[in-house]
Structures are given as structure tokens and as C-alpha cells.
């Protein structure tokens, strides 16, 4: 018998009587102002958050990035003077990337996380390999909690998605927090209204 069948048989013989699933609607978490809460939480975990009107985004972003930087932009909605992701090259090519600009599908107020998928950023390494990650979301996509987030995301989505909350970090050396472990050392979120 294959290990697969052996394992499945053993599990079948051992598993207890069927138990029902709990009702998740009984655990809500709401805030008076979800956008304000989102900004507060994300700011405390090492990110810079900027809330601004949509029409000011482009000029603000250009000012923040400055001249002469190595940037990849994955937002199609804005015509920015930066390279688009190139899927024909190896992802390693993007080592030394200064900025990745990536659109978020939604933000979560309770933990400051932003949901991103590879439908938008195309090259999976992009949010991780850059020095500075820029995530852009619309204020109206911000939900209160993770249950609402998964309700909105649904189950049909592409090959890879992630909640990202802040720059990469570690506290493995004597619990001292250091920003910039293996991923971006900085993260800025633009919350557009």
C-alpha cells in the first residue's frame, strides 16, 4: 500500500466523530473610523502612511522618490515615468531595485495589512526584493477586520497573494527590533481618497 493510502486509512480510523463548524458572525470587530485605525496601526509597525487626494498622488510620489532611482511600477491606472515589470528576465535581475510600486486591493484596519496579488505585480519577487516598497490603496477599500477582508477577497484569486504589513523586520537578536531583514527596509503606504 502506498504511504498515501496508509496515512489516509490511519487517519480515517483515528478521527473522532464529526464536529460542526462554528458561527463566525459572532466575532465582529468594528472601529468608529476604519481608515484612521488602519493608518494608526500601520504607522506603529514601521511603515510611513500618507493619506491624500487621488489627484495629488502622482506629484507627491515623484517628489518622494526623487531622481536617479531604480524603480518598477506595477500600477496601470497611473502613467508614471518608470519601468513596468519585465517577465522575460529572471527575477534575480531585480536585485538592487530601489522601489517597487504596487497597488493593494484592500487594507485591514485591525492590523494594518494590505492585500496584494500577482495579478497586479506580475513578478512575485517584486514586493520582497526591493529596498523600499510602495503600496497604494484607495481609502474606500479599507475594511475593519480579517473576516471582512476574506469575505471581499473570496476564494477565486490568482496563484499568489499576500497580506503585507510594514517593512520586513526581525527581533531575533536580543529582541531588538530591526527594520529591514530580508525584504524591504522601508515601506510607504499611500491611502488615496
Amino acid at each position: 500500500m502506498s504511504s498515501r493510502d496508509k496515512i489516509l486509512n490511519a487517519v480515517k480510523a483515528a478521527q473522532p466523530d464529526k464536529q460542526p463548524l462554528p458561527d463566525l458572525s459572532a466575532i465582529p470587530l468594528k472601529f468608529d473610523d476604519a481608515v484612521a485605525k488602519f493608518i494608526e496601526v500601520l504607522s506603529t509597525i514601521g511603515a510611513t502612511v500618507k493619506r491624500l487626494p487621488k489627484d495629488r498622488f502622482q506629484s507627491e510620489l515623484m517628489d518622494d522618490i526623487g531622481e536617479g532611482k531604480n524603480v518598477v511600477n506595477t500600477i496601470s491606472e497611473f502613467v508614471l515615468d518608470f519601468a513596468s515589470p519585465d517577465k522575460t528576465v529572471a527575477p534575480q535581475t531585480y536585485d538592487n531595485l530601489d522601489y517597487s510600486i504596487i497597488p493593494g486591493q484592500l487594507g485591514v484596519a485591525e492590523n494594518g495589512a494590505i492585500w496584494v496579488t500577482d495579478t497586479e505585480f506580475q513578478i512575485r519577487a517584486l514586493p520582497f526584493i526591493c529596498e523600499h516598497l510602495i503600496l497604494v490603496i484607495s481609502a474606500e477599500t479599507i475594511v475593519h477586520n480579517m473576516h471582512e477582508a476574506y469575505d471581499k477577497i473570496g476564494i477565486d484569486n490568482p496563484g499568489f497573494g499576500a497580506f503585507i504589513a510594514g517593512p520586513s523586520k526581525t527581533a531575533d537578536i536580543e529582541q531588538s527590533l530591526v527594520l529591514g531583514a530580508h525584504g524591504p527596509r522601508f515601506m510607504t503606504a499611500y491611502v488615496l481618497e
Partner: protein, 484 residues
């Protein structure tokens, strides 16, 4: 940068030798928890520091969970979802396999650690790869995968900073979330000086982290195969969720040609919406953060990439059939029970001589080998603090008590040793008792009558630290008094 120049060959050889040495002592179960704890206790300052650091993390956990109004309902939901999944595990495993195959992921089944290791090696061989990166996976620790691969000529680089530190030092992790919690920054500075050529005497965490970042970046860019663990696997979608703060799982998986994810079969949950519950519970319980920086959902390999998942039993189906211990399979490996445990905090993770230390490790280990780990369920005061913080409401201290009975029933526990181990646990659980015992240079029995006074023990004042359960304490006290 110059920092990373090192003659790897020789150092790796040394590391491997050191690792074997330490693993023999720590993992292959020579020595009882009480003996290993006594060893750890030789350096009193370090013990105090270890204790305080973990207690600080426990307090961070309290602070953040008290800010969640429905925390108890959330824990209950987490517990019930796991219960539901375990009660339908056979069906959900089949569903998960189907979904993975639909997603283009190759599924492997491993009955035990040996088979798991062989599967991983066969994938490496198929691709003629002898150097890999690996992000944190307690399962691969449980299976001693690193040793196995090294013996087969494969270089494994652990990429989680804490794991990298203990790997360079030739040790196993001492904590499932904080692998090098027992290391001081000066020692890490020295280690990095030796292995990565950082300036001698530099012990600045920021500087050392940056040095490791540069060193490991080169590995991420050049390794063709990356391994990761799995925090949650979803039957409904076939996706695997991996949570890290460092981004090391993602850096490995997205740059490598082949991604191998390894999971114990209890990692399964039924539906994607259940992730909402577990991602809310996990990091708050683990470190007091609202969520990890990255909660990555791996579903399909990227174009041109190969993705494998190895589903491992290794004793889990046996544990599933043990009614008293079944609940231990709900564990989401947050480490909260370790951070709060008065014995763990003062004896250190290595004293448990098992891949998973602390209260939960003491329940899981005897399932694998009751004789070898017969001491672990006794390394506890049964104070119940672990059960109170556990995000999936595992009745940890009850299970420890049940294991004691099981072990005695099976004849694995000589009585004198049992008492010594319980006494050790009791001493370690109180700084006052610990100091008294230490200063007097002898052991706890003599100090018992006044040491039980709760006012000496600040931990009992904590909200979530209940009094020692009456029954087991009385039983314990009688025995010791009788033995005097």
C-alpha cells in the same frame, strides 16, 4: 561588501561537526530535562535574563489581546475550526490533494520522518541541486532534515535570522518562534565575526542584522531550490499560507526554480475564510504584534516554476486516535505556552531535548517515543498558564497530567526520578525558590514548606495565572512530605 567573504568549506565542516555534537546531546535525548535544566541554571544571570525576556513577550501578548473585545470568542472559534477539521481530516486531506493537483502542485505523502527526508532528497537529486535555502519549519527540525541532507552532501542554509544564528553555532533552535532567544548579542557578534567576518566586538543588533542580510541575499539569489514550512493549508483552495516577519520564505520561494513546502497534516483547515480567524490569533499570541509582516498565500507555481508539498504523518495519526491527546494537534505553533511557562523560562528550550520544547513539546514528544521523552510531562508545575494563553484552547496542562499517568502506567517512570523532576519544575517556577535552592547549594525538598507560600511568587498575582490545581498539588505535596 567585504563582510561576507569567508572560506565556507572549512567553516561549514566545523559547523557540521559542532551540529552533530550538539544534536547528539540535545536531540537524541541523552539526559533528562532536570539534568539539562540544571546545566542551563549554572549561569544565574543568564537564566534571569532569559526569564525576563520571555515574560516581556508574554506581557506584550497580554496587552494586544486585551485590546480585542471578542478575544475569547475568537479562541473558541479557532479551537472549533481545528476540531471540525480534525474530525473530517481524511476527507479534507483528499480535497486538499485534489486542489493542489488542480493548481499544478505536486503532492507527496510521507508516513514518517525518514520518508519525508527521502522525498526531499529525491527532488534535489532530480534537479542535481546540492545547495538549498530553507525558511523556518519546525517539521524539518522534527525530522532532522538538515542532518540528513548534510550527510548526503547537501548544504542547507536556514534563512530565518534566528535559525541562521543557531545553525552557525551548531545548535537546534531553543524556541519555535524565537530560535536563538538564549543567545546574547555579544555572542552573536562573536559568531558573526567568525563566520561572516564582521568586525570583532561589534554587537549592535542593527549592524549584525544588516550583515546577515547581505550574506543571505547572495544565497537567495543563487539557490535553485527553496524550502518553506507551512502555517496553514486550506483544503478548499489548495493554498498554503506562510507567515514571516523577515520575508525570508518569500525571498527563497520567489527566486528559486523549485519550491518545496513541508507540512504536518494537522496544518490543514477547511476553508479560506478560516484564515481570518487564525491570522488574527497567531501573531498576537506569538509576539504581541497585530499580524506578521508577510502572510503569503502560495497557490500555484509561478510560470516555469515547480512546486511540491510534502504532507507528513510521523505519529500524527496515532495522536489523532488518542482521545486524551488529540487536541494537541490543534496547535498553531505560536509559542505562547513557552513564553508563559515558569519552567520553560527558567530551564531553556534545550533542556527539553526535543525539536519542540516547552509545554506543547512535552505533549507531542511522548507520542513519538514514550520512553525517551518520559521525563517531559513531569517538567511542569501544572499551573495551567499555558492552557490559559493558548489561542486554540488546548487543555495543555490537563494533557501533561494525563501523560504522567500514561507513562507511569507503562512503567517508564522510576518513582525517585519522577519526584526529582517535579521538584525541579517547582523550583524553577519561582524566582524566590530558585534563588534559595541555588544559594543553599542543595535542592528543593528542604525548602518546600515555606516556598509554597504564594506571596513569594509574583507570577501567581497575574490575571491569567491561576493557582496550582488543588488535586495535583496536594498529591505532589503529600509525596514530598512523605519522602522527607
Amino acid at each position: 561588501m567585504k563582510l561576507i567573504s569567508c572560506t565556507r568549506g572549512e567553516r561549514l565542516k566545523r559547523t557540521t561537526m559542532a551540529a552533530e555534537h550538539n544534536n547528539n546531546a540535545l536531540h537524541n535525548g541523552t539526559g533528562l530535562h532536570s539534568d539539562l535544566a540544571r546545566k542551563f541554571n549554572k549561569d544565574e544571570d543568564r537564566v534571569d535574563w532569559h526569564d525576563e525576556t520571555l515574560w516581556w513577550i508574554r506581557q506584550k501578548r497580554d496587552k494586544i489581546t486585551h485590546g480585542i473585545p471578542n478575544w475569547e470568542a475568537l479562541r473558541e472559534a479557532g479551537s472549533q475550526i481545528k476540531h471540525h477539521t480534525l474530525s473530517n481530516l481524511n476527507e479534507y486531506l483528499v480535497q486538499f490533494e485534489e486542489q493542489c493537483q488542480k493548481n499544478g502542485v505536486t503532492v507527496h505523502w510521507a508516513a514518517d520522518a525518514q520518508e519525508h527526508n527521502e522525498i526531499v532528497l529525491s527532488i534535489l537529486k532530480k534537479h542535481s541541486v546540492d545547495k538549498i535555502v530553507k525558511s523556518k519549519s519546525m517539521l524539518t527540525e522534527e525530522c532532522h532534515l538538515n542532518d540528513y541532507l548534510q550527510h548526503n552532501g547537501v548544504e542547507v542554509v536556514d534563512t530565518d535570522l534566528g535559525e541562521r544564528i543557531v545553525q552557525l553555532a551548531g545548535e537546534p533552535p531553543s524556541h519555535i518562534v524565537l530560535p536563538c532567544i538564549h543567545w546574547k548579542k555579544e555572542e552573536i557578534g562573536e559568531l558573526f565575526h567568525q563566520f561572516m567576518g564582521t568586525p570583532k566586538g561589534n554587537a549592535d543588533p542593527q549592524f549584525l542584522t544588516h550583515a546577515a542580510r547581505l550574506n543571505l541575499r547572495e544565497k537567495f539569489l543563487t539557490r535553485k531550490i527553496a524550502m518553506t514550512g507551512v502555517n496553514f493549508a486550506v483544503a478548499e483552495t489548495g493554498e498554503m499560507v506562510v507567515c514571516t516577519n523577515e520575508g525570508n520564505a518569500d525571498m527563497g520561494a520567489h527566486l528559486a526554480d523549485v519550491h518545496i513546502a513541508c507540512m504536518g497534516m494537522e496544518k490543514l483547515i477547511a476553508k479560506r475564510e478560516h484564515l481570518g480567524v487564525f491570522l488574527r490569533l497567531l501573531t498576537r499570541s506569538a509576539t504581541g504584534q497585530p499580524i506578521t509582516t508577510y502572510s503569503s498565500h502560495f497557490k500555484k507555481p509561478r510560470e516555469g516554476q515547480e512546486m511540491h508539498v510534502v504532507i507528513v504523518d510521523n505519529g500524527r495519526s496515532v495522536q489523532l486516535g488518542r482521545e486524551s491527546f488529540r487536541n494537541s494537534l490543534k496547535c498553531i505553533r505560536c509559542g505562547a505556552c513557552m513564553n508563559t511557562c515558569p519552567v520553560y523560562r527558567r530551564s531553556g528550550g534545550h533542556s527539553y531535548h526535543n525539536a519542540i520544547a516547552g509545554p506543547i513539546g512535552s505533549i507531542l514528544a511522548p507520542n513519538l517515543d514514550m520512553k525517551k521523552y518520559a521525563d517531559l510531562p513531569f517538567a511542569s508545575t501544572l499551573c495551567g498558564s499555558c492552557s490559559n494563553v493558548c489561542p486554540v484552547k488546548i487543555d495543555i496542562h490537563d494533557q501533561l497530567y494525563k501523560w504522567r499517568q500514561e507513562i507511569v502506567k507503562n512503567g517508564y517512570s522510576p518513582k525517585t526520578k519522577t519526584i526529582a523532576m517535579k521538584a525541579m519544575a517547582f523550583t524553577l517556577s519561582s524566582p524566590t525558590r530558585y534563588q534559595i535552592a541555588g544559594k543553599a547549594g542543595r535542592f528543593v525538598l528542604k525548602n518546600m514548606p515555606f516556598a509554597v507560600n504564594n506571596k513569594f511568587n509574583p507570577w501567581y498575582n497575574e490575571r491569567e495565572m491561576p493557582a496550582v490545581p488543588k488535586e495535583s498539588f496536594t498529591e505532589w505535596y503529600k509525596k514530598n512530605k512523605g519522602g522527607k
